[in-house]
Symmetry: C2
Subunit: 193 residues, 2 copies
């Protein structure tokens, strides 16, 4: 209930903001290069701060990961609202799903963190994951109401399909090259003629 850790916030003092931003910038590069398990010590060193400073700003690895991908998630949700306004429910769902797969494979390990965040109520991610699930749920329902997608598919299952496709993308460079094909394989079966 009350043991959910506080989300990372940008500090008010000038040196604090500088360090916060430097850590975020280096963290993005490190996660990109080495995945979600990249060394926090290396990130701190790369940002020119002591480890304690990193922990001061980001209490857990999850909160740092959350902060590095917050913008991406925001963009994804905005994209969802945009495509929802169109008049092709199936196209909108597929379009957004594709973007969601790309986002969820921003770096190696993110899909797992997302899947975990959706289940763990005490996670920094929980709210974000729920928002992402809900965004997909709205698009899914619209496509189902239009009779274009099998009606028994649940929002949670759509989330699972997305993170699974993202996981394959993370793990297999060859599959990542052809995202359209991957998407077709993973969610192609849910459409109705």
């Amino acid at each position: 209930m009350e043991n959910a850790p506080p989300p990372a916030r940008r500090p008010v003092r000038a040196d604090g903001r500088r360090n916060y931003d430097a850590i975020l910038r280096v963290a993005r590069e490190s996660f990109q290069a080495k995945g979600s398990t990249a060394s926090l010590e290396e990130i701190a060193a790369g940002a020119g701060v002591a480890v304690g400073t990193l922990y001061g700003h980001f209490a857990t690895r999850e909160s740092l990961i959350e902060a590095t991908t917050r913008d991406g998630l925001t963009a994804l949700l905005a994209h969802g609202e945009r495509v929802a306004a169109g008049d092709d429910p199936l196209g909108a769902l597929m379009d957004w799903t594709c973007e969601a797969v790309l986002f969820s494979s921003t770096f190696r390990g993110l899909a797992e963190v997302l899947a975990h965040g959706l289940r763990d109520e005490d996670s920094h991610w929980h709210a974000g994951c729920l928002a992402m699930e809900r965004c997909g749920a709205d698009l899914l329902r619209a496509a189902q109401d239009a009779g274009r997608v099998r009606g028994d598919l649940t929002p949670r299952e759509l989330f699972n399909l997305i993170s699974a496709a993202a996981w394959v993308r993370e793990a297999s460079p060859a599959a990542a090259d052809d995202s359209g094909r991957l998407l077709e394989l993973f969610v192609g079966g849910i459409a109705r003629p």
Copy 2:
């Protein structure tokens, strides 16, 4: 070419076999409980041997994982041969695929190790992963020849679908409960009416 590490083999000396077996037994329990990243020191301690003994028998974590799941893979391949003898190619493919998903989610992290082993030629796993892929390829081709599965699906893509479904099973207990439903979602789209 020649830098592929040697597979773990059961020692000839009596005390060696005893330790080897003890390590394997504890490793199975540990992987089951904590996933593929379980502490090797704890496994060694649990087996009543020094860490060096564990490394003496299993040069890498991968080789230990391989040894703990070798029987399961063998059983899966045998199951493939068995179902291939029937006269329902689509049923055989689905049956085997379901077993493959169960095997690939024996413990948390195995799906990732398998996906990695298939790509890395120097892995302990490479031969095993190839055998698994080939087993699926034979069943897939039969189902395709019978016109029951879309013809453009490749063996590699089937492997990816299997490990992705296994990954979801590993990550989400709820999904793991209803394997039939999961399988339907992941490979239901490949069948032809």
